[in-house]
Symmetry: C2
Subunit: 340 residues, 2 copies
């Protein structure tokens, strides 16, 4: 028996904004006969994440080679089992896989993680209890190392990772400034996420003005968790305190072209010297083997409703490429998902 | 009784190159009567170091306030004792003090460190067994953490700190590339200091060309000990290997104005993310209390003649301001000193 599988084939490398023109939407028959230990899954929720655009850079990034052309766009997916020849997986079960932008897939059971909808909404496997949560938790605790009373500044604070970093930092007893775009996001950071302060970077025309605003509220910065780069980072670095820790988790302002042809910005490394500060780059993949540590602490908070994990869900498989681009231009809050 | 004391008073803040016009040479009587525990010293060798120019920046640097105007220029000095009312110090003794650019000084014994000319040349107290040696040793071992077989790249490799870092890195079993200005310095790095490779950055018109040359010989960089910043750093950062350690010890290319009004350069922090690399700023002052650890290891190497610690000695107290500026434009090798 066959079913119709739809998938987004990655065809052309974007040089600036990414969109549908870099993909081809394909519908093709999928042979559903399963081998031993194989499972047929149907995707329900797709993750769209900034790292996907990094991998489309023509230069070496986190992998030596860019995302290969003429393959399905990689991504995390939450699916339901349609059929199974693997012990432990039954029709209707919810699973996580890294099977990419395709509506259905035949996958080996070893590539699936079972999800328990009783414990947390299944979409959290793509957010607070998945890659973004892991990034936020280990980036903050292993590289940021915040102490009670310190000032933690989070850029991209309304995003999937930033909104969690902000809340995790508060739980460490830090005083937290969230930086985001627009007054509505900033109000949300203060009222819903518990930020001590929030600053709308779009209200500032240059780094000096933004820097003055950050200095006015914080006095100085002990931990800077950077998801954004560019002007926001230019504004924060001159304000670092002695022994500050800067975590480079993302540089989203640079992804639509700046990785291939770097934008120019002020040289700021001399501040590292004065303050004996550290910049540490991190990737979610380094902590895959430590998910249990993170979940042991964060999952109970999620279950108790103590963590805000906002989701913005875009409806429709055909929206995937434009949803990816909206990460860089859009107005979403929290984790961006596409519902199949 | 009085003697004539000469001193360089720091009068005006330089905005670009520093020189005699920012100082006033003063000759004045010095009362030589000593109180209890006081010592009268006569300077023999003055240190000129890049950090002095940093402290003249109008913005906060390693201290919150710039070097105060209308005070004697601070610096390390090697002197001889002229008269003493302190136990343990006798006429003719060699001492180190941080008494600045003045020919004579009355100082409390607690501000003096005795030097033993039998153990090492007294000028080494301003070089390999002093602040530059400490900077090189702890910057490399505590922040760079080189392993045998790794690639260590040193910028400013012919300078006081860089020439020691290069040799210390070789002793750790690393493969070492020294970057310096001009073919003569590069030949010296290879033949006298034992560099595996040396590259003349002045032979390259831009960072891409320099980067290609660095990549060709090293293949990639595990530790980058940066004394220079600017174009050289732009060339190295895209070549870092996984978990690379970048030590920001100096940014000498930026000191003549770039600290007040930062130069523009390409944004490169995204590489930190890909390689999960670290940038660590360090200052010599953080390791003052650990001089004994460094000397325990390095002093025997010095005594045995196993370390090259070249000195460039400029003759004449009146040369001090121009000697300071020559750090940024000059052709000296190793440690730059002025002889009184």
């Amino acid at each position: 028996m066959t079913i119709t599988q739809r998938l987004w084939m990655y065809r052309r490398q974007p040089l600036a904004e990414v969109g549908g023109e870099h993909y081809e939407l394909i519908a093709q028959p999928l042979d559903t006969r399963l081998g031993d230990n194989e499972v047929l899954i149907e995707a329900r929720y797709f993750s769209v994440d900034p790292y996907m655009r990094i991998g489309q850079s023509g230069k070496p990034t986190y992998d030596a080679e860019p995302h290969p052309l003429n393959t399905v766009q990689q991504s995390g997916v939450v699916s339901q089992v349609i059929a199974s020849k693997a012990a432990g997986f039954a029709e209707g079960d919810w699973v996580y896989s890294y099977s990419g932008w395709q509506s259905h897939a035949r996958v080996h059971a070893s590539a699936l993680t079972r999800l328990d909808p009783e414990q947390a909404p299944v979409t959290t496997a793509l957010g607070v209890l998945g890659m973004p949560g892991r990034t936020a938790w280990f980036g903050l605790t292993e590289s940021g190392k915040p102490h009670a009373g310190e000032v933690v500044v989070v850029s991209g604070a309304a995003g999937a990772v930033g909104s969690l970093v902000l809340q995790f930092a508060k739980r460490h007893g830090a005083r937290v400034l969230g930086i985001a775009g627009g007054p509505a996001k900033c109000a949300w950071l203060r009222t819903d996420l518990g930020a001590d302060w929030a600053i709308d970077y779009k209200a500032h025309g240059n780094a000096d003005s933004l820097s003055a605003a950050i200095k006015e509220v914080t006095g100085g910065v002990d931990v800077y968790f950077d998801n954004v780069g560019g002007m926001v980072t230019d504004a924060v670095i001159p304000l670092i305190n002695r022994r500050a820790r800067i975590v480079i988790c993302g540089q989203i302002s640079q992804y639509n072209g700046g990785l291939d042809t770097p934008e120019l910005g002020p040289r700021l490394l001399h501040h590292m010297l004065y303050q004996r500060a550290t910049i540490q780059g991190m990737l979610a993949r380094d902590y895959v083997h430590r998910m249990d540590e993170m979940k042991r602490i964060v999952a109970p908070w999620v279950k108790a409703g103590d963590i805000v994990f906002e989701e913005t869900i875009i409806d429709g498989f055909e929206q995937l490429p434009s949803a990816l681009n909206s990460l860089f231009t859009g107005e979403h809050r929290g984790k961006l998902l596409v519902k199949a």
